[in-house]
Subunit: 162 residues, 6 copies
Amino acid sequence: MDELTHFNEAGRGKMVDVSDKQESHRVAIARGSIKMKKETFARVAAGTMKKGDVLGVAQVAGIMGVKKTADLIPMCHNIFISGSDIDFEMDEKNNRIGIVATVKNTGQTGVEMEALTAVSVTALTIYDMCKAIDKEMVIEEIYLEEKTGGKSGRFVHSRKNV
Amino acid sequence: MDELTHFNEAGRGKMVDVSDKQESHRVAIARGSIKMKKETFARVAAGTMKKGDVLGVAQVAGIMGVKKTADLIPMCHNIFISGSDIDFEMDEKNNRIGIVATVKNTGQTGVEMEALTAVSVTALTIYDMCKAIDKEMVIEEIYLEEKTGGKSGRFVHSRKNV
Amino acid sequence: MDELTHFNEAGRGKMVDVSDKQESHRVAIARGSIKMKKETFARVAAGTMKKGDVLGVAQVAGIMGVKKTADLIPMCHNIFISGSDIDFEMDEKNNRIGIVATVKNTGQTGVEMEALTAVSVTALTIYDMCKAIDKEMVIEEIYLEEKTGGKSGRFVHSRKNV
Amino acid sequence: MDELTHFNEAGRGKMVDVSDKQESHRVAIARGSIKMKKETFARVAAGTMKKGDVLGVAQVAGIMGVKKTADLIPMCHNIFISGSDIDFEMDEKNNRIGIVATVKNTGQTGVEMEALTAVSVTALTIYDMCKAIDKEMVIEEIYLEEKTGGKSGRFVHSRKNV
Amino acid sequence: MDELTHFNEAGRGKMVDVSDKQESHRVAIARGSIKMKKETFARVAAGTMKKGDVLGVAQVAGIMGVKKTADLIPMCHNIFISGSDIDFEMDEKNNRIGIVATVKNTGQTGVEMEALTAVSVTALTIYDMCKAIDKEMVIEEIYLEEKTGGKSGRFVHSRKNV
Amino acid sequence: MDELTHFNEAGRGKMVDVSDKQESHRVAIARGSIKMKKETFARVAAGTMKKGDVLGVAQVAGIMGVKKTADLIPMCHNIFISGSDIDFEMDEKNNRIGIVATVKNTGQTGVEMEALTAVSVTALTIYDMCKAIDKEMVIEEIYLEEKTGGKSGRFVHSRKNV
């Protein structure tokens, strides 16, 4: 079995040395969703600038979350981010909002954790904005859908084609 | 339908005014889990100080995440936290690690978002520590299990008794 | 002439001791504006969720900026904020967007700097969002319009009634 | 009319993808000022290490503010800063302190927002240090005076030669 | 032997629950020093606003460090600080600069770690400002000199009367 | 005598311009220790995952502290870190725990301050975790043991061979 690279010989956490890795263009796409009551979903979906745009606030939080990843995840490198974006998929049938974060960088490591963090912070913000009317919301299934760049090459999550 | 309290009259986000709310002891318990391959689960479960304790690192990250909640969630109040703790539940049958965060404060608002953030950051850190051997991990079903304190009284999520 | 309270006997900066001050409800209102080209103003004013809502992003940044005040201003106390909101005033005649930040707390000190910081961060964000089409923008006249609460009582800026 | 680059197709904020931009040496100079009462100006101007050096504290805050720009401005890239400095211009006739921030980097984007943020944080700190004796201060006219580097080339604000 | 309160039953770190503790006025005084070459000491001691005031920059850093304590120390509570100050003691005979940080709060816990952090950040900043001319500097003996307030009452370090 | 590079012509702090410096691989090793009572040392040394692993928490704090260096030290550049690790040396005879931090980057400046900050935050965290049973602990002698890379070449502290 492969080693967990984030530990040193004493078994304690370390920030992996990436000095010798080559720079490459990297793209990570993470995905998650938040399920809510029918009424809550309707309220978010009907969001207008007049009544309040829940997803607009969540989007800003998610983008800013990308930049806080290394501050949240102990062994994560602090890296320069080339770009990041978030898309929402409104699943009306299931009252579920899909969140897709795409993060890019050029460097020796990254950007899986940044994309996963973006999805998490976006979902938490939707929860916060709606919790006055719905505390039953559930943040569901956050995972790395795809990653390109880096030595290990392209990764596609087994759920992608399901 | 109830209003989303986090918007002002122009439909833009605001930090809700809690000046007139009474202080109360508040406790929030949030829950989530992360599912992984059998080998990854075995590796985490076997974590010792010699080989590297994944959950030890994740626990520290989760506790620190509590204190960063207001920095991550735009309309969330910055509050004094009285205490916070995280527990893990090893579900060997399903190769799933349950994460339970308990956060307490005494104040006019809080601490749902802090507990949910703690679970999220803990799960993200487990992902980060294990991603060298398993990129298929999925963070699953983060929700507020229970909350006491505050005007609205006790809340128990419908999943609790399932 | 009165003393600058933020210096100690050696003439170096200190965080003023407020241990003996009484808690009071405090409200500060700060105001500022950003002037831009006619076309830029028109673009911002026409902001819709479809085309992009500049002020929506700036509002979130301003609210978050309130919580970062003590991190930016060296001798400023870190305080619990009870509520904060931002309003925009569209001055079509002068292609100028007015920014009004209202911040509240209950405590021994605050919240002038928080309100002024909110206006500054909001204006900077509008600049950032529009700088691709207009680098000539000018952030104008940021000041404390009004403050209530605290030992010194109510303050109203001389510009308020102009 | 040119597009606002900070929005995605859904009209929501994004961090622009700069992956394909070439690295270049970049310098941005931003300028602003703070106007105060005659007595306040005299006090700041007479600042010595014995009595307290307002501008010394403000300078440190401004330099540190440069490094917090991406944390404050939602769609702003987090970048490595090569150097930054702040100069003060004492306008005794008008009791106004001019603030000039110069920020440099080598990269694919930057450093206008960093220079503008430096000026803003410096001005806010002067306000904070002096507010015990003068709440009438006004932060005036913050703008980008000059920028070199990057694809769009040299920019000089129309006010520079006035 | 007494228990380490920062661990939960599973042996993992937690933020101790202080909900039931009474608020009290608390003062902590921490002390440390930094030893340097004779020439470096002379340069710092001769610091003027013209030539550059090393201790002025270090003082600002130390005060700001107080506010970052809970962000640095994992199990430390985030608390409201009532006041903080730093004094320097110039030991010309030994080319050593003494650093004394005094931090106050009113609350259920604090403020030892804040005072110790202030001394550490102040010393690190002196090192940074002088490292171009002296890399041999040594940060020496940082400890809690005295603490009042809280259930455990007054503590005085055994070194105080030496 | 050499100049302090962190000051501008007006004698105020600046972030040194490193635009013209060449990138190089850099490694800094900093060292420090914390002395405690015999019982405290025994408790830490006996740390197990069951009873609580003080050094495990301190290690995570130290690694995260590396990433916060530029946020703490005013004139310090914000840089990308390639890797960082912390080792402990248990000096049973003197009840002293040695802390060795190794930090690497490839760039135009760094990484002395990052290594020194890592040692400081690690030591502060050990203090925090143990202060319930021992307030007499002393953080001792933090210094830069060795540095390679950069124009000035290799530096070895005079204490290294003692």
